[in-house]
Symmetry: C2
């Protein structure tokens, strides 16, 4: 198996994300403008009441999202939450800098094992599901009430398991190496995932929607993972469903007929105004066809 190599670079990326508790947003932007691909994600500009950090009514610094370029990947969960909440964010996706900071563990400050990572002011945070929960709390997308918050937490974790297993199916011979080079050898794993695991995950999420629907009347029930309004967990589920449909189209077509609530949920989520605008924009990166990522 190939061994990771840590290349030395002098692009000075550490002045961007690397200084603990000191780098100002202005310094960060200046330092990264030339070295990283900075894409300003123009959002609608609505400020939610949650869009102030540290109280005192001051507007928060903009969200920054660090991730590999040109793929939806795990960052898409985070993007969809920021989009639904009408938040502006910038993307920082220079592969060389990510390679050094994360693959080679040269990042300083609060340790983050891998991208995606978000940053706002001096606060940095990693791990996809953690980031999703954090943003949900800041942006009004947590469920109401303790039981539903824990159920959303659990369901979000199962969404992450689904995408992890789906990715593994494309890397059956070696989960550390690219799909390209193992296309033929990983075919049995894809077949197994399509026959057994994908339908099982879809049935599970159908049951989740049914459980929630049973708690509400016909007018408002069953449209969300928990409760009667959209939460971060709905946006996480939306992404994994879109990934599954795109990456396993035949298995999706065979299975989705058994999951009518899930089909309706997906259509409803894709039709939310901000989500719809995002999905039809050039900002939304296409799936590559070689993993769930």
């Amino acid at each position: 198996m190939q061994q990771p190599r840590c290349r030395v670079s002098s692009i000075g990326h550490k002045s961007a994300f690397g200084q603990p508790n000191s780098a100002s947003l202005a310094n960060f932007a200046a330092a990264t403008a030339s070295a990283t691909v900075v894409k300003q994600m123009t959002a609608r500009g609505e400020n939610s009441s949650a869009d102030t950090a540290g109280g005192e009514g001051e507007p928060s610094p903009k969200w920054q999202l660090r991730y590999w370029p040109n793929v939806p990947g795990r960052a898409e969960f985070i993007r969809l939450i920021l989009v639904e909440a009408g938040q502006e964010f910038s993307e920082h996706c220079d592969p060389e800098a990510i390679y050094l900071d994360f693959k080679c563990q040269q990042k300083t400050g609060w340790p983050v094992f891998a991208v995606p990572m978000i940053k706002q002011g001096d606060f940095e945070l990693g791990q996809t599901a953690t980031i999703c929960r954090y943003l949900a709390k800041r942006l009004g997308l947590l469920p109401d009430g303790e039981p539903d918050r824990w159920r959303a937490d659990q369901t979000c974790a199962t969404v992450m398991d689904f995408i992890t297993e789906g990715r593994l199916a494309f890397h059956g011979r070696n989960f550390y190496e690219s799909y390209f080079g193992q296309e033929a050898e990983t075919r049995p794993y894809i077949d197994y995932f399509e026959r057994h695991r994908l339908p099982k995950f879809l049935r599970h999420f159908e049951q989740v929607l049914s459980f929630n629907a049973a708690n509400w009347d016909a007018s408002g029930g069953g449209r969300f993972v928990v409760g009667r309004r959209v939460t971060y967990c709905d946006l996480c589920l939306l992404h994994v469903l879109r990934a599954a449909e795109s990456q396993f189209p035949a298995a999706w077509a065979r299975s989705i007929g058994d999951c009518p609530r899930l089909a309706e949920f997906k259509a409803g989520m894709e039709d939310r105004p901000r989500v719809r605008d995002y999905l039809s924009s050039a900002r939304c990166k296409p799936f590559e066809g070689n993993s769930m990522m």
Copy 2:
């Protein structure tokens, strides 16, 4: 690859964990006493102030933990939190019932994809990290303050990634099948994990301890993942370190010398009175030597 088969059983397990919002603890205990392996985990009997559910000062029903028998597995994270908090809990680990409820998705009530699952009264919850956070909130083992709570959340997720990757190393040829039958073929994956991934994870957690230590004076700093007192995340990290040491002893011995804070952390956690008593008791199941689970 082998296809999962759903066997039919008449053990009536669904009356145990299967009825949504109706099965009382008394009914549950009666229904499972003959069919499942019920091990009463006698704890010290101290009641923490958190040991009341729903307010009103009534004592909570006992915690119930559902998991596969005879292995520490992912349930060990949960056991250690309950042990540290001095909570009594019972284990329900009949493989047939778990197979039907989870592998065959016959469980009713709130959908849970896989064990481990906890239950208290009518409330059921799945996903290891979710359960750990939930118990931490109920039992006073969350960190103080928002930033540290999110950092603990992130670190707990990285602990779960570590154990997942470690398990995969033992199942390199086929991650759905037993280690036995792929011992020789998975050897390169174990070698790779030992050379590259295990040291990287250990270095990461060493950095986490160093970051926290930098925020405190020498007397109290660096002993925990966040803050100055034990939280759920310390117990999660303890388990994955013990699993890594047990399952990859040579790689552990080569790497731990570079991580002095981590070595000190592990020794300190293992020496906490309740943890020490648990680890030296028959209740603590040994690692099997064929995965991180």
